[in-house]
């Protein structure tokens, strides 16, 4: 869609302060330092503490250590460049764009476990799309959790978009059906479907997700064009299992990494990218609808070394 590029710089201003902290701490750990075994061990700890996972950390550290011993690198600057390169290779630019339909509404299906931050993330997406001049319809397919529809409604009132809803306790696939019809009838540019939080271990709920997906596919050609998995940045290695199971059930195409404004680093997305090839597309960095950013591997590396 390209649209997120244009707003990126604006959002970035809001994060200048955070970035300074990141950069400063990267500097203090790596830049200008002579590389030695002590620094490598420190780096290893930081990576593990960022939830990157034992496997990926070991691979990176082994490679850095090998290069160091072979005399190919000898400073912290080299290490930083290596890590940035690794991440950039993991997430090439085109991977991070939001998919869009050639004609008709683009359907974005938003999924995730309970409490991941789906509804808030949808509000953010919606706000960004609206700023880019897109018309948006929301589908409230979370018919299970008490107050979920109301939560989305409050957002829709604040953001001035229409929301299609069904009965509390009703069939979410039916709501998806109605929402598709509404989006088509109103010639909306984008339809965002909110779904109920579900643990990836609940087989019946995962099947329900598959059903929602196939209802959408029948209603709108090529839909859903984007299936976003909202992941809480505080998650540990279990996020990998979530990515696998949600992909199996609904064909996840991208990750919305939410709640990256705390001390959590969300490093598990690295393990996810390696294991499943699912890219991160957006990050959520606050509670207001403007707190959304396109994913930036470079900033991500820097954030990983923040204290």
């Amino acid at each position: 869609m390209g649209l997120f590029r244009s707003i990126a710089s604006k959002v970035r201003q809001g994060l200048e302060k955070t970035r300074e902290v990141f950069v400063a701490s990267v500097r203090s750990l790596l830049l200008g330092k002579r590389l030695d075994e002590g620094l490598i061990l420190q780096l290893e700890r930081r990576l593990i503490e960022a939830d990157v996972g034992v496997k990926t950390t070991a691979r990176w550290i082994d490679s850095i250590r090998a290069d160091f011993k072979a005399g190919r690198i000898d400073s912290g600057d080299h290490v930083l460049a290596y890590l940035k390169g690794e991440l950039k290779r993991l997430w090439p630019e085109q991977d991070r764009e939001l998919a869009s339909a050639p004609r008709g509404p683009t359907v974005i299906l938003v999924t995730g476990v309970n409490g991941a931050g789906k509804t808030t993330s949808i509000a953010k997406l919606c706000s960004a799309l609206r700023k880019g001049g897109k018309s948006v319809v929301l589908g409230a397919c979370d018919t299970f959790r008490a107050g979920a529809v109301r939560q989305l409604e409050v957002w829709s009132e604040r953001l001035g978009v229409e929301v299609v809803k069904g009965q509390q306790g009703g069939d979410p696939a039916a709501v998806a059906f109605d929402a598709c019809a509404a989006a088509r009838a109103r010639h909306a540019d984008v339809l965002i479907l909110d779904t109920a939080g579900r643990l990836h271990t609940q087989d019946s709920l995962m099947r329900q997700l598959t059903k929602i997906r196939s209802v959408v596919a029948k209603q709108i050609a090529g839909g859903p064009h984007e299936v976003l998995l909202v992941l809480d940045a505080t998650l540990g290695q279990n996020a990998l299992r979530q990515a696998e199971e949600f992909t199996r059930a609904a064909g996840v195409t991208g990750i919305f990494l939410a709640k990256l404004d705390g001390t959590a680093k969300g490093g598990v997305v690295v393990a996810i990218k390696e294991a499943t090839n699912i890219p991160v597309k957006f990050i959520g960095v606050g509670e207001t609808p403007d707190d959304i950013q396109p994913f930036d591997p470079e900033a991500f590396v820097e954030a990983m070394f923040a204290e």
Partner: protein
């Protein structure tokens, strides 16, 4: 959960149990694997290092006890250290295995009332759902409760709690009162209602006192531990309302950051306990260990599902047992006791012994079993089974099929399955959307089970175990979909003694 962690420990014990004496080198080697497994299970790095160091010290300083295999001694060390890490010594910890019901320990009742419980935590950790579960838990124990909506910033959070309160009122067992308190006109957008919650909480507690409610649960807004303004708000609430219990709600799937957020909440409020949510996921749950380590506060409850009754009291020794693949037979028995009365159990036993079990009894048992929770979760409580189950998909739908088949039988057929001919099987299959051969298979399994049950009723305990194991080996498991479940005593049997002892103690 904890499955892969169990695997790692199994690995460690396999390495050690083969060796007569324990050398520093082989213990160190094995601990390396355990360290990686703990990290993979999201236990915080610092905690892992402390833990492995302690186990190593204990193991190396260990006096070899005559007649006890060194491997087993290490098992005990790891187990004890794990229990310690989770909160409590093996004998007295958090919950004494043989001790009394724990309701009073987990939410102590204060006089004069009301008892005030404040829930706090990060966004999305599950505070509102947990508030409802706590209310149901208290209601069941005859304690009236008020749910107070102190989350004024998440859209519709107040409505959510109101609906939850209504559910507790209508659906949760018990007859105690359930009140709801909110000030809907004070709801505001994020960041605009800071400190308003303070007044709301105070008035809620005043109201509860007037109404004579036993316990008030304050459902506060989710917040980041680095948001100073919101953390200050919580401190104000605490200062003014003086809650008896400040409980931190933590997502069991949290990674390394669990340590930082728990530390910050603890520093600000001095938390009295932790509730771990989403425990029914397949997380390995290292967060539990990290949080306990930095706060020192006991883990009081775990949330195990979406239903109101999906909350359990936390028992450190039991969870340590799960980690080590020792199973959690005590929890299983408790779950069963909640569902089946003593008389009913005896009546059924009698029938079993005389070989008079009918399909109706079987259906009844199946339904009871399912009320206890998902099959996979139940089987995971059996010693040695947890780690084998991690890749097995047990579909509760298979059980739906069996229920459907029995429901499609006539009364006569249920009493006497021998009369089932092909035409009857076809009818049953059509009625239950199954195939005639599936009906036949189900009936054969039912007969095998009832024969076994009759035989077993005259056996000694050890013969029973052997018979059950034999049955598992034949791959002739009770239900379709559970085919090939290994006999449960075949693994981890060296550790079962302590579980058995605890079990016996309980019975006394």
């Amino acid at each position: 959960m904890f499955d892969r962690l169990s695997d790692a420990f199994h690995g460690l014990f396999r390495t050690l149990s083969g060796k007569g004496a324990i050398s520093e080198a082989n213990v160190r080697g094995a601990m390396g694997g355990v360290r990686a497994a703990l990290l993979d299970a999201d236990v915080h790095l610092n905690v892992v290092d402390t833990f492995t160091q302690r186990v190593l010290d204990d193991a190396l300083g260990m006096k070899v006890v005559e007649g006890v295999e060194p491997g087993q001694q290490i098992v005990k060390i790891v187990h004890d250290r794990l229990v310690e890490l989770l909160g409590g010594t093996p004998e007295t910890g958090g919950a004494t295995p043989g001790g009394p019901a724990l309701a009073s320990d987990h939410i102590p009742r204060m006089t004069p009332g009301p008892t005030v419980v404040m829930l706090c935590g990060l966004q999305g950790s599950g505070k509102t759902t947990t508030a409802g579960k706590l209310a149901a838990h208290l209601k069941k124990r005859g304690r009236s409760v008020m749910l107070a909506a102190a989350d004024l910033q998440r859209p519709a959070a107040v409505e959510q709690l109101e609906i939850v309160a209504q559910h507790v009122r209508d659906e949760a067992p018990g007859s105690a009162r359930v009140e709801f308190y909110a000030e809907k006109d004070r709801v505001a957008e994020y960041g605009k209602a800071v400190n308003v919650a303070v007044g709301v909480c105070r008035r809620a507690v005043d109201q509860a006192r007037k109404l004579g409610v036993d316990t008030v649960v304050l459902d506060t807004a989710g917040r980041l531990h680095v948001n100073d303004a919101l953390m200050a708000e919580l401190k104000q609430v605490q200062g003014l309302v003086q809650p008896h219990l400040v409980l931190l709600v933590v997502d069991a799937m949290t990674g390394q950051d669990a340590l930082h957020s728990a530390k910050a909440f603890h520093a600000a409020l001095g938390i009295d306990g932790v509730i771990l949510t989403k425990f029914d996921s397949d997380t390995r749950g290292g967060a539990a260990l990290s949080v306990k380590h930095v706060t020192g506060a006991p883990i009081r409850f775990i949330g195990t599902g979406e239903r109101l009754d999906a909350i359990e009291e936390f028992h450190a020794p039991r969870i340590a047992g799960r980690i080590l693949g020792m199973g959690d037979v005590v929890s299983l028995v408790e779950k069963a006791q909640e569902q089946v009365s003593q008389e009913e159990a005896e009546r059924l036993n009698e029938k079993l012994a005389r070989g008079q079990m009918t399909m109706d009894d079987f259906l009844g048992q199946l339904k009871t079993l399912r009320r206890m929770g998902p099959m996979k979760q139940l089987l995971g409580l059996l010693p040695g089974v947890g780690s084998m189950l991690k890749d097995v998909h047990i579909e509760d739908r298979q059980l739906d099929k069996v229920e459907g088949m029995i429901n499609s039988m006539t009364k006569e057929e249920r009493r006497n399955p021998a009369i089932l001919n092909m035409s009857r099987k076809r009818r049953i299959a059509a009625g239950s959307a199954t195939r005639p051969d599936e009906v036949g298979q189900m009936v054969r399994q039912f007969e095998a089970v009832s024969t076994l049950a009759r035989r077993m009723s005259s056996m000694s305990a050890s013969e029973k175990v052997r018979a059950a194991r034999e049955m598992g080996r034949q791959g002739d498991a009770m239900l379709p979909g559970l085919r090939g479940m290994p006999g449960y005593a075949s693994r981890g049997s060296t550790h079962t003694t302590s579980v058995k002892d605890r079990f016996k103690k309980r019975k006394r």
